[in-house]
């Protein structure tokens, strides 16, 4: 792996974790009885920036390196399902997150009075943030398994 790819992978993981942590922070803050919109705005924006950065850096690594160098190792190991199920699911479910993040940020930034006045709106915002966080968490865990499998010695 050349230095550019190493940097891509590191950035992908770090900003991805920051994005998932941001979704978590949005969720925790939405669940409070007194909403702090400064925190909500900060974390929702962090979620959007983080997930887009993670998308582009991870996408570059995936398109340029993973297919040729990592996938064959995993497929030849005793755990091909780590690519065939986990990686395939991860790479596609990940694509949902940028859109969830944008919607969360738009609602939080522009609908403060509506969120405070409408319990139903707040409830579905919580569910959306929850979905973003839980899917993000699954993606992180799948990433751990894939990373581990990449170092399996074949034969």
């Amino acid at each position: 792996m050349n230095p550019a790819l190493k940097i891509n992978l590191i950035v992908h993981i770090v900003v991805g974790l920051i994005a998932v942590a941001a979704f978590y922070a949005v969720l925790v803050n939405l669940l409070k009885s007194r909403l702090n919109f400064f925190s909500l705005r900060f974390f929702s924006l962090a979620g959007v920036i983080g997930i887009f950065l993670s998308w582009f850096t991870g996408g570059y690594y995936y398109a340029v390196y993973y297919g040729q160098a990592v996938k064959p190792i995993i497929k030849k190991s005793g755990y091909p399902w780590i690519h065939d199920v986990l990686m395939e699911a991860k790479e596609h479910v990940f694509l949902f997150l940028p859109f969830l993040a944008i919607v969360l940020a738009l609602a939080i930034w522009f609908l403060e009075s509506e969120i405070l006045a409408d319990e139903k709106l707040k409830r579905y915002l919580i569910l959306t943030a929850g979905a973003a966080f839980v899917l993000g968490l699954f993606i992180v865990l799948m990433g751990m398994a894939i990373s581990g499998a990449a170092n399996i010695k074949s034969g």
């Binding site: 399902w81 699911a89 479910v93 694509l95 949902f96 944008i102 006045a117 409408d118 569910l127 959306t128």
Partner: protein
């Protein structure tokens, strides 16, 4: 106030459309080789193609809803309804995607 909620509702619809597009393309491209090849031809990689299609759909539905909006919207209730649909679409789509790859692996 209704203008804000109407615009945001349009982008929520865009997000729903994007999620469903990704799911549809994921399943269809794996089952129908020429579609996967077409995505690869146009975008150098099928996965990049799916992402690009999702972005296009999101922006088209979002901005389309914004430009062609009706002035009398249903306010925050409409946004809540949109988020409910987005939440369930996301969960359903995630299950479909994961289930599909489990099925593909097992067959």
């Amino acid at each position: 106030m209704n203008k804000k909620t109407t615009i945001i509702k349009a982008f929520i619809r865009g997000a729903v459309a994007a999620v469903l597009t990704i799911t549809l393309l994921t399943v269809a491209a794996d089952l129908y080789g020429p579609l996967k090849d077409l995505l690869k031809q146009l975008f150098s990689h099928h996965w990049i193609g799916k992402g690009a299609a999702a972005i296009f759909v999101f922006l088209a539905v979002g901005f389309g809803g914004w430009i062609f909006r009706r002035e009398a919207g249903d306010g925050s209730a409409g946004v809540a309804r949109g988020l409910k649909i987005l939440f369930w679409s996301t969960i359903f789509s995630a299950i479909v995607v994961f289930g599909f790859f489990v099925w593909e692996f097992l067959r």
